[in-house]
Subunit: 452 residues, 2 copies
């Protein structure tokens, strides 16, 4: 007998036990349902690809974190780091086979050899939608509408009298180009530092951001003055979107500034026409979302009663990425749901539908002689679409069977003794209250459906 | 500008484009629904584990095919080769946190560096259910009932007048122990060769199997005589299950032979009580399913009009595996759905529900001035639960929009010109026939639902 191997997990990796997996699976299915309601199609790509494909757009930071190895044929391969690069490959590889706009969603694991920490894993799921092939701002607006619909779906367990509390903060990356022009910053690398500081406003505050910028060797007084005015006058959240937009437009003035404001106004208008209540949409000139990737609309989504958790869903327009494998670029706009963080927030707010069990009812076996009727009963319930678990031991005491239902938190239990069965009845036990009532076998499925 | 990376896939890996992914996703969801109807809970485990965990029960064949590498911390890790070994780890690691029987399903990718070929991939999905912790034959019967229910679900597109055509061929591994005893084969390794030959009967025929056995140096005339009688008298498929079972029991005689026949009869009885029509269950003494793994019930599932594709779902009882990481064994029985092969067979039989699009309707934009009403219309349809795609360009000609619907095979198109909109109407176009009809905006969702 060889020594036993110790059962253990790699750091940064997780088991999803049923009580975690049940709400997770339900939420992922509901989100996929939202995506499909907007006409997005599912796509899946391999988890392992040639390393040069996966690294085609990666920076040194990403390259360091990618799981890369030689396969059995000594090929240089890697595990995918995110999903968008494979989307770009698919669009180049099957270009003419795919309609434009190409609207797809993809959900699946990605891997990063990051330092594991609170909420940070080495294997986690990404959950993306993208619209490729149209520059139309209707696509940007649709992303905001999808974002809102996902948030509504995710919060549907909030009590009816409690308001849905999410807000989508959005901006347009062209605004930063206008700001750069107005501030007279000629070096793009310096502007990148400015954007990075503004992007951190949420964390370090206006004063912190200023301090960081004032200490920057590449910024002069004129540069800093424009940035200060911009931040001081534009980030007052009590202003309405239109007031702020007018203010920003008037201050920045330039062609690119006007274009940015026009785009923001158009996206805002279409998103509300698509049913997003205007109070859910907050134009926020401090939203930047990374540095190189995005070219137009950018947005982040927060639960207003859990702002400190950070954004649970984000995205934007990126018109330069998809072309990395093709002969020409294609305009694209997309969203990524931060599914782990979303689940954590919903859970801590008490609005994640939890359950230890898929079964709505446990069919017990009263004794060996009544096993046959219990088996048939379970089958009848399943045929009616009820998730009905059968207790799988015909010699177990009823007490043990009830304890099993209790442990798995199955809400109803059916008990069918020989006397009741002879009368065409069963006993239906409510596991929450312990109350038992007789119920007719005919129509039992309907009775249970009415109570579940 | 760096040279473009050529978009390409590793051999043995696949992209699932939407027209492949849509039916696949639907089928996987439907199968998960069947599993949940029987009270199985979802479980997920990491794709990467310590190599010694994943290899704890692997033979040299498996070890050769596993993707194994050093991670960033120089740990010896691997990609999972199958799902059962991780289930065994989970049961040892969280033993007291999990109820018994523990019923779980798991669906996800596994990796094998096998030679790619027709229907053989290096990354493919497994789709498993297992019941751990009970020796009750009710659990074996439940696996057959789940198997049958999955096959019914998978074939639900067969025309009403066409019979469902699957058959579950099942056996019990104890029968081979009885045969070994009767034939007087004392060496287990030689018996393993006998079982291997019998298991190939489907492919090489009775004569082929005999030839192989007759040439075996370790088998004498007495051994061969018993095996010949067993095969000659027992594999006539025209016999009913009970007749054959009586025959086998009478011939093998021994304690273990009686036990095997008793188990087979009990499983058969319970499975029919659980609603599996008896003509779907074929007791077949040649079914072996590998060599070491299984200890009792074993079964394979075929579409009778596609026998040559091989088994699409299989499983059995394996009472010695789960304990590999724990201090004691636990009885277990399970099923694995061969999802790729099942999809291939359904597709070739024309009973896979195919679709290039999730959307049931495309809402077109008549012109820029009517965009707002189109956006609102799309929103109304989605709120009513209809998958409604909006055409994302308000300046596109109607012809182009219809061509898009055609290409994506979206069945219905809504056209809302200004005159119709003023009357509270739209035009509903059936993309299959090209017929157009006016429809009221009020109740449009109901009208479309009635036609989809």
């Amino acid at each position: 007998m060889p020594r036993k191997v110790e059962p253990r997990l790699l750091k940064g990796f997780r088991d999803y036990l049923p009580e975690v997996m049940i709400p997770r699976t339900r939420l992922l299915r509901a989100i996929a349902g939202v995506f499909e309601r907007f006409g997005f199609e599912p796509l899946d790509t391999p988890t392992i690809e040639y390393a040069d494909i996966l690294l085609a757009k990666a920076g040194p930071e990403q390259e360091k974190l990618i799981y890369r190895f030689k396969d059995h044929g000594e090929r240089d391969v890697a595990l995918r780091y995110e999903l968008t690069i494979s989307l770009a490959r698919v669009l180049a590889q099957y270009s003419t086979d795919l309609p434009r706009p190409f609207k797809r969603y993809q959900m699946g694991p990605v891997w990063r050899a990051d330092a594991p920490g609170k909420g940070r894993y080495r294997e986690f799921w990404q959950c993306d939608v993208d619209i490729v092939g149209t520059p139309s701002l209707l696509a940007d607006a649709e992303c905001l509408a999808v974002d809102h619909a996902v948030m509504m779906e995710a919060q549907k367990l909030r009590p009816a009298d409690e308001p849905r509390t999410h807000v989508i903060r959005f901006n347009n990356r062209k605004l930063f180009r206008a700001l750069q022009e107005k501030a007279g910053i000629t070096d793009d690398a310096i502007m990148a530092d400015v954007i990075r500081a503004i992007d951190k406003l949420d964390k370090i505050g206006k004063e912190g951001a200023f301090r960081e910028l004032a200490a920057h060797a590449g910024l002069n007084k004129t540069n800093l003055g424009v940035i200060a005015t911009f931040l001081n006058t534009m980030i007052d959240v009590s202003m309405g979107n239109q007031v702020r937009l007018d203010l920003v437009g008037a201050y920045l003035g330039s062609e690119i500034g006007k274009l940015a404001c026009q785009e923001i106004a158009t996206v805002l208008k279409h998103a509300t026409e698509m049913g997003v209540p205007s109070e859910r949409l907050k134009f926020d000139p401090t939203i930047a979302r990374g540095l190189d990737y995005y070219t137009g609309t950018v947005f982040e989504t927060f639960l207003t009663d859990a702002m400190d958790y950070g954004s649970v869903m984000s995205g934007g327009r990126y018109d330069g990425l998809v072309g990395v494998f093709a002969n020409q670029d294609e305009p694209a706009v997309g969203i990524s749901v931060g599914i782990d963080r979303l689940i954590t927030v919903l859970d801590e707010k008490g609005i994640l539908k939890k359950s230890k069990s898929s079964a709505q009812v446990l069919v017990t076996i009263f004794d060996a002689s009544s096993a046959e009727s219990a088996l048939k009963l379970a089958q009848t319930l399943r045929a009616a679409g009820i998730n009905a678990e059968l207790y799988l031991d015909k010699d177990a005491k009823l007490k043990k069977q009830l304890a099993y239902a209790q442990r798995k938190e199955i809400p109803w239990v059916v008990i069918a003794g020989p006397d009741e069965t002879a009368r065409g009845e069963v006993t239906l036990r409510d596991m929450k209250t312990g109350q038992q009532q007789p119920a007719k076998v005919d129509g039992l499925a309907t009775t249970i459906q009415g109570r579940v």
